[in-house]
Every structure is written in C-alpha cells, then in structure tokens.
Symmetry: C2
C-alpha cells in the first residue's frame, strides 16, 4: 500500500526538474528493471511491484526485500508514466560517474542537436549500443535521457552508452582536428563519401534539421540518397543507416 505522499513524490518524477532535484528517475517493465538490478553503475532506490511479478520472481523479490513495496495494479496505474503499466516500476538513482565522457579519438562519436522525441532518443542510444559507440553528446535542447519514455526505448542500452549534455560548439572547437559529418538533405551521397574515423556524426532535430550556427562546424555534409517520394526519414532510422555506413568497413 502506497501513502499519498509517496504517490505524489513518484508522480513528481514524471517531470525533468524534479528528477534533477532528487537525482532519481523512473524505470518500468520487467526486462529493464531486471537489467538495472544486474549492474552496479545505477543504484536502485526502491522497487514497486504487483503481486503477479513478485510471485514470478521470488529470488529477486527476496534479495531486494528491503527496497520492495507490493502495490495494487490500481496504484501502479497512478504512478506509472505508461498508458499500459507493466508489473514493476523502479526508482533509480542517477549515475555517479561525474566526469564528462571523453571524446573517442579513435572511432565514431555521435552528436545530437535538439532531438525532441523520447522514442527517437532512446532508439538512437540503442543504435549506439549495437554499433559499439560509447559516447553520445547532446545539445541542451535534446530531450532528457532520464525521461521514462527514453529509458523505455533504449531497451536497457542507457546502461552501456554514456549520454552527455554539453555545448556542441565548444565541443567541436576543442576537437577541431576530428572531422564533423553532418546529416542534411541535399549533401554528398553517403554511399560515395569516404567515411573516416575518428569522427563526429552530427544529427539534427526531427522537423528542423541542423541549426545554422552548428552547420559551420561541419566538414562533410552527407545524405542518404532518396529514391522515392518521402520528404525525410525518421531521425533514428537515419542515424541507424549512417552508423551502419560508417561501421561496414
């Protein structure tokens, strides 16, 4: 049974400003929560689970007894960020790796400017994890990585890929020897462009693409050639195709 105060507290974590104040975020669903329990970088603060999950997961439930609260599915609905809540919700502390991730000087770094859609952001983190890209650099205008929809869409990949919010112009200025590949419409055919690593692969906002100020840091403007009529590709799909082109060597 959850107190009103606890419900209110968890609901407050649906908002970025409260997550940042408390340094706690929400993760939902059996698979992601179990993955979080199986690593050391992120500490679980509390687990809230329905009877159905507890009955299925007796070993884990016993191990985390002190942190586990049994709740009714009606209570879960109140605190969940999902339309169809799963059986378990975890409150997880922010990672304490305080040092900013360093730019990889030997391979590809992913850079995102103002990616807004949580599903896209999570999917891009999953793409990075698939292709072995360790670092993602995000402009401050990107959606919060601790948004629960982002966490959900990463399918656990946020545990392995470091996401750093930073000033992109500063980033490029202080690594001016590393070429910046910017994804634009009407750039060079990606299939015919020499793709070298180390490199920054720069992806822009879903609707607006890359901003004017950032475009001046681009060394090569690249494009996935269009053979049909769609105006554009989804940002995460484009990122996946471009990463694949870099990594096929």
């Amino acid at each position: 049974m959850l107190s009103k105060a606890k419900i209110k507290y968890i609901q407050s974590l649906h908002q970025k400003k409260n997550r940042q104040k408390e340094r706690v975020f929400i993760a939902e669903g059996v698979k992601i929560v179990e993955e979080i329990l199986n690593q050391n970088q992120f500490k679980v603060h509390s687990l809230l689970a329905t009877e159905s999950w507890i009955n299925k997961s007796i070993t884990i439930s016993n191990k985390y007894k002190g942190k586990l609260t049994r709740i009714h599915s009606k209570e879960l609905k109140k605190i969940s960020t999902l339309k169809n809540p799963k059986e378990i919700l975890a409150l997880v502390e922010f990672s304490n790796t305080s040092a900013a991730p360093s730019v990889t000087e030997t391979s590809l770094n992913l850079v995102l400017e103002n990616i807004q859609d949580p599903g896209n952001m999570g999917t891009i983190i999953r793409i990075a994890d698939w292709f072995g890209i360790a670092n993602i650099f995000c402009s401050e205008g990107c959606v919060d990585v601790y948004n629960s929809k982002v966490i959900q869409a990463t399918m656990g990949s946020f545990l392995r890929v470091t996401v750093n919010y930073t000033n992109l112009e500063q980033l490029f200025k202080s690594h001016s020897k590393i070429p910046v590949y910017g994804a634009v419409l009407g750039g060079m055919d990606i299939y015919k462009t020499e793709l070298t690593e180390p490199g920054f692969l720069l992806i822009g906002n879903e609707g607006k693409g890359l901003s004017h100020p950032i475009q001046k840091y681009i060394s090569k403007k690249i494009t996935i050639p269009k053979q049909g009529a769609a105006e554009s590709l989804n940002a995460a799909v484009a990122t996946g195709i471009l990463c694949s082109c870099f990594k096929r060597k």
Copy 2:
C-alpha cells in the same frame, strides 16, 4: 459544436473493427491532413478543426466548407487519439483500390510478419516511401495500417505506399522464383552478402523475430553485424539499414 452521437461515432473509430465496418479512419495534424486534401486516392469524409486552424487556413477552409465543422479544443480532446491533439482531425474513407498490389518482379518488396508497434509500422512505411519501395506485404498479425498512430508515423507516406494484408506463406509459394531475404540474429553478414533484386525482404516481430513456419521460405538469412552489446536493433531501424544496403548498389 459536436453532437454526442458524432463524438461517440468518432471515438468508435479508435477501434479497428469499427474502422473496418465503416471503412473510415482518423488522420490528425495539419501536415498530414493537408497532404490528404491534396491527393485523390483517399476521400475526406469530414474535417473537424479548431478556430486557430481555420483562421490560419482560410483558403482551404472555404474550399471544404461543406465538410468542415468548427470545434472547441475541449471537443477535439474528446475525439482525438493523441495525448496532445493538434488543431485538426479528419475522417477519411478507405482507399478504393480494391485490386491486391502485385509483387514487384524487378525490385525489392518489403514483407512484415507480426509487426505490432504502430510507430514502427508507420516508420517502415515511411522508409519504403524514401527508398521507392512501392509495396509492403503484411501478415494478418501486423498492426492495422489505419490505426491513427500508424498514419501519424508515416508522415503522409501511406498515401504513396500500398500496404496489403495477406497470407505470407501463400505469397512466397506463388512467387517461388523470387529470393526471400530474412532478417534474423546470427545470419550472414549483410555487408558481405550479395543482395539481388527482385527480392523479398522479410522482417519479423519486435520481440520474437520471424516465426518458425515462415523461416523455411527464407533463401538467405541476413544480419546487421553487431559491434557492441545491445541485444537487438529496433525493427524499423533494422528495416531502414537493410533497405539501404539493398539500395546502395
């Protein structure tokens, strides 16, 4: 002002069985609705728009006066399928192209087995439209193309790509000369596989991949090589990368 009966009718179209009975679906948002109004294949049955849209779009509003109902944003919230409704919602009649789309004997055909997520389905339709793939064949277990979240995610590409629900085993049996490339984990390295057209590119369910019965129709099992730790890629991202590999020749 909307009558209670009209609100109930539109809400009923949130469900597949009612869409199929009425042969009408919902499309939302300025961009998609305006694209629908600019083509002939799909007929708009009625438009429901807030004052803000009408004031901005006087020419279109006048042209479709007979079909247009001015509604309050509170009413829009009641009939919308979106969490954050846009300014306009259209009821659109199913396309009357009754003939089943024919298999392309010269290039790539996309085949989906049990794709469940509306966002993925819409994004895949958009990918097909980008790469000039005219036909998608779906197993009956795929999400309905007229689901409003699918329509939304296509960004208008459903107007140009034909999606056909069919028995996939029958499809492969009756086109046994066309090779079937099946996306699996642990198949041949896609970068080292000769990709020929015509071909079927077969993509499986988000969680379960391709079913056993369908796997026996595969000519070549293909995989995007993994260099990191993610268990899998998002289905739409994988589809995008595979289509790009076919089309880069």
